[in-house]
């Protein structure tokens, strides 16, 4: 094998293409370039493909790359369905599988494999982070607006559990169908519940439309709004006027410190957008993988995985370790969206409310169903 090939498969044309997409690929390429384009004397090549959110395309592509192109490492993007399908294949074919965009905690839980590294965030961390921190700050009673499918229900369940465990109450929940576009009715129900916090257990367009309608109905005046999965691109498209005061959890923001700002600036120059935490994680994950190759002087997945799991990571993205179940444990942040007045420049949206320690926000050993971590 004369080349090291990294295969990146993500949604480039559909629902989640903004948070990861081709800019996600660009981040990986940036890492490769910064690394010098070569590792162990072999040139590094990035293959990327659009899976259009279809698991079958993702899986066939992955399988084909491994079988016919001799892929060294597989990198999975957004959407848990596609990521899970790829994880199976990476496992079968013994390839390191890095995954960022997908949030499904099953990747390192029920369906964990020895080759998966779940790098950026997962649903458990989002739920625990936001809910835990808010209850601590006095947001005791909650109402959930939940997207009615596995992902939303999971978010709600995890968040509700945290709320209850900390002595809070769940005043109610309304399950809305996916892509519900009109949220006014649900928000009215939320308002009538007189809860203190409105937890948005949904994603993407649903979250955006819910936030917009909340603004219209003045929900924000009587309740605190907490988004369980909100990306900076969502805030960007809604504008601060609509999102001001919204609470959310993220694994990274470009405006945390000088290091992050440096990366943000570099990225912005290429794309005219600030990186999402996923895109930053793509860079970081690639870099650390390449370092592992260099350190182990091999591409053998088992050896590389062993190295990755035994070596603490530390860079502009995060500090932490990769657990036996494949989860990269690092700190997360509870953020609040700034008011238009507070924001000093474009993309300056977040202020840190609290730092959420990694060992508290991710699944605990007791909760884990992953056989590798027993």
């Amino acid at each position: 094998q004369e080349k090291v090939k990294i295969g990146f498969i993500t949604d480039m044309s559909s629902l989640y293409s903004d948070v990861d997409g081709k800019n996600g690929a660009l981040a990986i390429q940036m890492a490769i370039d910064d690394f010098g384009g070569k590792v162990n004397g072999k040139p590094i090549e990035l293959l990327s493909a659009d899976h259009q959110n279809k698991a079958d395309i993702a899986a066939t592509k992955a399988r084909e790359w491994i079988d016919t192109q001799g892929l060294t490492m597989l990198f999975g993007g957004t959407n848990s369905g596609t990521a899970l399908a790829m994880a199976q294949i990476a496992n079968e074919k013994k390839r390191v599988f890095m995954v960022n965009g997908a949030g499904g905690s099953a990747l390192t839980n029920e369906q964990c494999t020895p080759y998966t590294v779940h790098y950026a965030y997962d649903t458990v961390a989002l739920a625990k982070g936001t809910a835990g921190a808010l209850v601590d700050q006095g947001g005791k009673s909650w109402f959930f607006l939940t997207a009615d499918y596995a992902f939303g229900q999971l978010l709600e369940r995890d968040a509700a559990a945290v709320v209850k465990s900390k002595g809070g109450t769940v005043a109610g929940a309304v399950r809305h169908p996916l892509n519900a576009s009109d949220f006014s009715s649900f928000l009215l129900q939320a308002q009538n519940s007189k809860a203190q916090v409105l937890g948005l257990a949904n994603a993407g367009g649903d979250t955006i439309n819910a936030i917009k309608a909340a603004k219209e109905f003045g929900v924000g005046k009587s309740m605190k709004m907490a988004g369980l999965l909100v990306f900076i691109t969502d805030v960007h498209s809604l504008g601060l006027k609509n999102t001001e005061g919204l609470l959310l959890t993220t694994s990274w923001d470009w405006n945390l410190n000088d290091q992050t700002r440096a990366f943000g600036k570099k990225f912005f120059e290429k794309t005219k957008r600030m990186p999402t935490d996923i895109q930053a994680a793509n860079y970081s994950a690639t870099m650390n993988y390449l370092k592992a190759l260099q350190a182990t002087k091999t591409e053998d997945a088992d050896k590389v995985m062993a190295y990755l799991k035994s070596t603490p990571l530390d860079d502009f993205y995060a500090k932490g370790t990769i657990r036996p179940d494949g989860r990269y444990v690092h700190d997360m942040y509870l953020m609040q969206v700034k008011s238009p007045a507070e924001s000093k420049q474009p993309w300056d949206y977040y202020k840190v409310v609290t730092k959420l320690p990694g060992d508290q926000v991710f699944t605990t050993k007791a909760e884990s169903k992953c056989a590798l971590w027993k």
Binding site: A49, D56, A59, T60, R63, G81, A85, Q88, G104, A150
Partner: protein, 331 residues
Amino acid sequence: MNPKNLSALGYGLLFIALLAAPLLGAYPVFVMKLMCFALFASAFNLLLGYTGMLSFGHAAFLGGAAYAAGHSIKVWGFTPEVGLLLGTASGALLGLIVGFFAIRRQGIYSTMITLALAQMLFFVCLQAPFTGGEDGLQGVPRGKLFGLIDLQNDLAMYYVVLAVVTAAFLLIVRTIHSPYGQVLKAIKENEPRAISLGYDTNRFKLLAFVLSAALAGLAGSLKTLVLGFATLSDVHWSASGHVVLMTLVGGLGTLSGPLVGSAVVVLLENKIGDLGELLANVSGIAWFQTLGESVTIVTGLIFVVCVLAFRRGIMGELIAWLTRLRAGKKA
């Protein structure tokens, strides 16, 4: 050579090519996927091309069966052959239900009914616990066929798929050239007249629906078995749109059309990135590199071009061309 022999020769060559493909280095999983879609498109074409009923909900049969087969194999531990049968049967059952409503109206109304019902199934699959929601039903084992042949082996799996798809295709051919097929043709031409000749046309149309759905279900079950998962995209309406595209590109109402069309569309979907890459390298125009991210745009373009300029589809045009050629020779 007369057209009949010519087409027999064509199918023969295709079959031999498929037999030899994995030995010649073709990537078996991809070819299997192609065959599944070819069967799906042929099943769809059985309904549209020969009864004139356009179903815009065929994803329901593909996806519904994919889940049923996947679930029964993974969770209940059924053997692959039983799983396939069960998937096919559930396709048929769904076809019976959708068909029951669809045949109550004609033309485009009936189309919209299929779309709406399929959409209902989509919502059910989205929420039902056994489908795994948007994560999909993952990790379906291939198991052992009849407890003997280990399908984990790609090659074994490949020949099983080839056999099943070929058999299903032959069934379609036979159906079209059967007494029943004749009646279907008559109904398509003039339904009131068929009624007045004593045919209960609704039952014929329903059977066509069920047959088509069952075969689509078979395609879905096979696909689950091959790829090891079933996901929401199988039941989404865009999958229904896809199968229409395949049939249209290949040639509606021709037997070989759906085979060719599905190959073209699936190849395009999977290889368009490479194609763009190639074009960019050859022509030096960097824009081509973005082709990989514009699958929908390209798909849309194909639809438009096909409908406007290429209505008979690849095989349809070819057949028409051959006929003209022969007519020219005769004259």
